[in-house]
Each structure stands twice: as C-alpha cells, then as structure tokens.
C-alpha cells in the first residue's frame, strides 16, 4: 500500500493523542466514578457526530510536548439531539486542564466559530487555573491578556457544566455562560484553597470556598445542581432543548400530552382564599405548564422568586413568579438579581416571559436597604423595560406597590388578573397605619372602617375598569388564556425574534 509508513504513523499518533493524560490519572478518575473528557463528550453528542478540532495540538513549550495531549482540552463540534453545537471539554488529566496559550486558542476557536455560524456552545469544565510556568513573569501574564477575550455578546447560547476543580479561566468561562450546572463535589472559585491559604492566610475546605451549596444557595452563580457527571450532561441537553440555536432563531414548538389541560382544572385548590396565608407557587406553575416541562432555574437561590423554563402548549417560555411560601413572596435584593439575570436570558434567546405575581411588595427594612435594594429594583426594572420579547403579566392574588410594576404590571404587552387580584400602592392594613396613623390595637373599630375604605378600589375589576388590566380571568382558564396571548403577541413581523438590547448585559446575575 502507498504511504504505508505515513499511515501507520498517523494512526499511532492519533491513538496516542486520544489517550489523554497518564493512565494512572485516568484510572484514578474511573475508580472515583468520574468520567474523563472524551467519555463526557461521547455522552453529550449523538453517536459518531463529534468532529474534533485540535487533536494534535500541544503545549507551546516544546519541553512539555509529550505530556500535553490536546493541551488539556478536547474541542470540536458535534450534534446534540440533532443540533450542531461547539464543545470544549476540559481534560484534567493533561496538566490539570490549566490555562495556557494553545489550550486557550482551541477554546477561542470553537467559541468564535460557533458565534459566527450560529451554533450553541457547551463547556464541560475543569481547570487548575493558570498554567505554571507558562503564565509566570511579566511576559507570561501579559501574553494571557493578549489572547483572552472575556466579554461575550449573547449571540448563541452558552451552557457550562462545572464538573471538577474549576479555578481561574475555567471559572470565568462558566460565569460568562447563559446557564451553568454544577456537579456535587466540584468546586468553582477564582483561586484554589492552596493559593488563598498563602495569599491571605486563610485555610479552608474547597467546598466552603466554591462548592455546590455555596454557589446554588449563596452566590446564585449556578443555575442547577447535579449528582453525577451523567446528570450534569443530561441537564445540559435538557436546558438546550428550551433554547434556539442562536439569537436570530426561535425554539421550535414541541408536542404536548393530550391530558395536559387536566391539572389546571384543580388550580383553585392550590391557592388559599385567606389573603394572609401562604402557598407554594411552584405547584401553580406545574398546573399551568405542560406536564413535566418545568425546568427550575436557580431554585435554591433567592427562593422568593421562582424562575423556570417551561412549555405552554408546546411553546417554550420563561416564567417569573413570586413564591408566597418564602418571605411571604416579598421580593428581596437577591431575588431582584435572580430575575434580572433571567430576563436577560429570555430576551437574548427569544423566549416569551410570563409573570405570575402574588407579592405583598418589595421586602423593605434595614437588611434590604443595606443590600442595596433600591439599586437592585432599578436593575430589574431596566432589564424589564429594555427587553423586547413578548411579556404577559398575570396577577394571581395580591400585587402591591413598586413590585406590581416590576412584576410586569403595565410594563408588559398585556396585563391581566385572576378575579382574586388585589392591587394597590401597599397592603391596605399597612396603608391605614401610614395614611391615617391609626393602629388596630389603639382603635379597632376605626381601623376596620378605614381598612374597608382603603381596600375599596383595589379589586381585579378596579384595575380592569381603567383598562390597566386587559382581562379578568377565571384561574382555571390560565393555560388557555396564556396560549392565546402568546399567539397574539407573537412578534410575527420579525419571526418572533427580538431586538436583543440586553445581549451585552454583564454576566454575573
């Protein structure tokens, strides 16, 4: 055969490059039940569709050539449920998938090609941080800056999975993504505990520094948590199903179950009649959305706000709700950040937004003011006002004060209220105290009389009379109502594509 020697060398070199890091490291991972980079890619893509870029890439330093297969990252393109995506899968067995010149160049190539050609990007991340000695010295760190581009326009969706120790550049890649899932046991931090212990004399458990609880409950940096590598990849695939390939496309409609209308019939039993009683808004959402279609986003963070991707009669939407079960549904500073970030996601990828409000207002008080509540409310409002996707605001029970506006009241394509709606500048009982300086304990009779007076013009019909609510609806009609409104406000002139004025919004919300 012609070129026999070259062919043999090609096969040998290909095989060696695909072997990743040392057999010892690979065996250790396997024993711990953790997948390697190539196994993760195999799990992600449709069988046989992976088109690798940079198999023969090596460290820029010749002395590291033999230990730098792929320079620590498996990059390329592949199909996920039939859709072409760009992929960067960190290979921790090769120099800890540390950030270095060729390693970064490969990832940038995939990101740039995906953005230019309209494909989503999936990052399966681990990263030991900047590579030593590559980043050492003035020229080392200087060179990093010449290559790296950190800001990202939301042209195509980016979904990241934190699947191991992820520091420095790897952490930044995740933060810059639209959605992040984190495996329990993984760590996301600027710097490892070894560096922090030296730099600031602080010893700590990496899980405290950047574990899943820290990020799902404290910082809100991750959108979901998974138990295993397999669950992480499954979450990435599911999340992608709600998003279009790029900002100029819409998510295709899907089939929905024939019995999808059943749950909403029982919706009146999910909400207490007494106005001061709490309930779990997530049950209401489950009744409104197509069965099994709700994908919670940041469900462990700022629980007053519920944000989720879901489908209504096969159409992908973003749902933003207040949950009376937590803090009575009073929006706190963290929930403002959570909602603002979610609006950015929906607006960037043409997902209509449905607001479901049952809130006594913003959570006022010392703690909130210290946490910059006024600024957070305005960031939330800026995102809302700048967004151009269809928005439908629905009031379930109460919606008071500025929170009425922030939850889309009068700020959406259409505003409606269940017949149980109660809308005012503040809770009537508080209003009596403030407007008339009367407390219930001082003069119960007068307090009740004034409370009746203040409550007088606050019903659903009082918002409908001046046509500020465009409809008053029976809660059992919610699904059908939303479906019809989504048809009406379909942005057909642009094929459902918005103006994306939030595409350059900062990442960490």
């Amino acid at each position: 055969m012609a070129f026999e020697k070259e062919l043999e060398a090609f096969q040998r070199r290909s095989e060696a490059a695909r072997a990743m890091g040392s057999p010892k490291r690979l065996a250790e991972r396997k024993a711990a039940g953790i997948l390697n980079a190539r196994e993760r890619v195999d799990l992600l893509v449709d069988h046989g569709t992976f088109e690798e870029a940079g198999l023969f890439a090596r460290s820029i330093r010749p002395e590291a050539a033999d230990v730098s297969n792929g320079d620590g990252v498996v990059s390329g393109f592949g199909h996920v449920d039939g859709r072409l995506v760009g992929i960067n899968a960190a290979d921790f067995t090769v120099l800890g998938s540390s950030s270095a010149a060729i390693h970064g160049k490969k990832q940038s190539f995939v990101r740039n090609a995906a953005a230019a050609n309209g494909h989503p990007v999936i990052n399966l991340m681990e990263c030991a941080g900047g590579r030593i000695p590559d980043i050492m010295g003035a020229a080392g760190i200087g060179a990093s800056g010449e290559i790296a581009r950190y800001s990202r326009r939301r042209t195509t969706p980016a979904i990241s999975a934190v699947m191991g120790l992820t520091y420095g550049g790897g952490a930044f890649t995740c933060i810059n993504s639209d959605l992040v899932v984190m495996r329990k046991g993984a760590v996301l931090a600027v710097s490892s505990q070894m560096a922090t212990s030296v730099a600031i004399g602080e010893e700590m458990d990496p899980q405290d520094l950047g574990g899943w609880r820290h990020h799902s409950e404290g910082t809100g940096f991750v959108h979901a948590v998974a138990d295993t590598d397999e669950d992480c990849v499954a979450w990435v695939k599911r999340a992608l199903s709600y998003l279009p390939d790029h900002a100029n496309a819409v998510t295709p409609r899907t089939e929905f179950a024939a019995d999808a209308e059943a749950a909403v019939a029982g919706i009146l039993d999910l909400v207490p009649e007494q106005r001061g009683k709490t309930y779990d808004m997530r049950k209401v959402i489950a009744a409104i959305a197509d069965p099994g279609s709700v994908l919670p986003i940041k469900d462990r963070f700022a629980k007053v706000a519920v944000t989720c991707l879901a489908r209504i009669r096969g159409r992908a939407v973003g749902i933003i709700a207040t949950n009376p079960m937590f803090k009575g549904g009073a929006l706190d500073p963290d929930s403002c950040d959570k909602i603002a970030g979610f609006i950015v996601l929906c607006d960037s990828f043409n997902l209509p937004i449905v607001f479901l409000a049952d809130t006594p207002g913003f959570l006022v008080g010392l703690e909130s003011e210290k946490k910059r509540l006024a600024g957070k409310i305005m960031n939330f409002m800026a995102a809302l006002e700048l967004s151009t996707v269809p928005k439908i605001a629905l009031i379930l029970r109460k919606s008071f004060g500025q929170a009425y506006l922030n939850m889309g009241g009068g700020k959406s394509d259409t505003t409606a209220t269940w017949f149980t709606g109660e809308i005012s500048f503040m809770d009537p009982a508080v209003a009596v105290n403030i407007v008339y300086a009367v407390k219930r304990e001082d003069d119960p009779e007068r307090f009740e009389q004034l409370a009746r007076e203040v409550s007088k013009d606050t019903s659903a019909y009082d918002l409908a009379a001046p046509f500020m609510a465009h409809a008053v609806i029976d809660p059992r009609e919610t699904r059908a109502y939303l479906d019809r409104q989504l048809d009406i406000f379909s942005r057909s002139l642009t094929g459902g594509v918005g103006a994306h004025r939030l595409a350059d919004w900062p990442p960490a919300f």
Binding site: K277, T278, K327, A330
Partner: protein, 73 residues
C-alpha cells in the same frame, strides 16, 4: 443526634408558636409563624427533627437571620 439552630429568614413579629419542645416534626412542618409584610410566614423545620427549644415568645420581634429555635436530628 445532632443539634442545630433555626434562623428566621425575614424580620417580623412572632405571631404563633406551633411546635412545643419535644415535638417531632417532618421537613417543612412549621415551628412557628411570623407576621411580616401582613403575611403569615412560617419558619419551618429544615429537615425531619425534634424541637429542643424555642428561643422566642409570641409577640417578640425577630430580625432576619435571628435564631428562633434549636432542633435535633
């Protein structure tokens, strides 16, 4: 059995104490109910547990993050 303290997530007034020391609770069962923002807001058991001590009385004002009960699980 390990003891832990339960904090209030919101500033408000203790309206009703539901669980007495010694009572066994399932996760999400209310320990006490606060009144705040004119809502009845439960402070619930974070997991299946037994109440060891209630640290506040009805009518007390509690602030966000204040410890209100000791439980063991």
């Amino acid at each position: 059995m390990k003891q832990q303290k339960v904090a209030s997530e919101i500033t408000g007034k203790v309206w009703k104490i539901v669980g007495a020391p010694g009572a066994s609770l399932a996760e999400d069962d209310p320990i006490l109910i606060l009144e705040s923002m004119k809502m009845e807001i439960p402070v619930s058991a974070p997991l299946d547990c037994r109440i060891v001590e209630i640290l506040v009385a009805e009518g007390d004002t509690v602030s966000e993050g204040q410890l209100v009960a000791v439980i063991e699980a």
